[in-house]
Symmetry: C2
Subunit: 198 residues, 2 copies
């Protein structure tokens, strides 16, 4: 189980939530402002975010926007005592995971947080696989990438050679290097690797 990050400028609420979640074995880290969290945030931070909307300084919504700008993928649950429908709808459409009004039901909130944490774990597992693929792609030379694209597009070596203006033998060499670097044995495996990961 990864960590729940609670961002709320009200220490009493942070403490109450911290107690609630720790009693359910959910690791918690509290942040007393959006600014503090934003500064500490790194792309490898895992878990989920419980975000109060109304805070001194930067609001929870603004923090959310900034995190989106930094390609943060952590699921975000908004917590608010002043929520209205347009804000909730906008937040969810932008990709927020959930939106909970105070006062909330403890069990329900815990369920939603656990749900979000599980989602994050799955997402990270998927991305880890894709990152591995991306890392292998990064080791390819320009020519190898070109050849790989054409191979994955289903072209025969002969056609690829024509298209790149090089000999078939050279295509074979590049193709072989691509297979080796991408750790696959057939064009089909390579295609699956690249189309399943986008």
């Amino acid at each position: 189980m990864t960590t729940l990050h609670i961002v709320d400028d009200d220490e009493a609420i942070r403490d109450a939530l911290g107690w609630l979640f720790q009693s359910r074995s959910v690791p918690v880290i509290g942040w007393d402002s959006a600014e503090a969290f934003l500064e500490a945030w790194t792309p490898d931070m895992a878990g989920c975010l419980l975000l109060d909307i109304r805070m001194e300084g930067m609001s929870g919504l603004e923090l959310f926007d900034r995190l989106l700008g930094r390609a943060c993928r952590m699921p975000v649950i908004f917590l608010t005592g002043h929520g209205d429908v347009p804000i909730a709808v906008a937040a969810l459409k932008k990709g927020a995971r959930d939106f909970v009004e105070k006062p909330f039901n403890d069990n329900e909130l815990v369920d939603r947080v656990i749900d979000a944490l599980a989602f994050d774990a799955e997402q990270r597992a998927r991305e880890a696989g894709q990152a591995g693929v991306a890392a292998r792609v990064a080791t390819l030379t320009q020519r190898e990438k070109q050849v790989m694209e054409l191979v994955v597009a289903g072209r025969l070596n002969k056609v690829i050679a024509d298209q790149l203006g090089i000999s078939m033998r050279t295509v074979e060499v590049h193709r072989s290097h691509v297979f080796e670097k991408m750790r696959v044995k057939t064009a089909v495996e390579l295609t699956r690797l690249l189309t399943s990961a986008g």
Copy 2:
């Protein structure tokens, strides 16, 4: 542009919305109850749904649930004068496209509807392609499907032959039939066809 289906038991609102959308060249069909729409609904119905939540008889939310149960893919926009945050959040998490409170801004509503219609059109185009693939898969015999799966899994003919306990030549024949019926020329193309469509 496909059709906007307005479900609202208040004739005055249906008329007002009808006038609004027709003035923006959005074709509209009005329904005076969830029951009426549900009865008329067919899987090939295209466009989007503008759904009032509070109605006599079946509510908009219940209609939405029933449509989901029937695998309806039309984008749904809820319209309500009694919306509260939990309902909006639940609806959006279940897959509703949008949630708009009355009174609404005409231009904004029109924008959202047009957005939803465009989404539906794209989605239908995608599904049409997938349906074509599914139709071709349906013409395959059992043996051909088995061979196809192994081909797409990247196995060599030799391995497939072993695995199915038949000769390589037979695998070649099935493989060739699969390519013909699926209208592809290489295993890579076949893989793309099947992995992009799920």
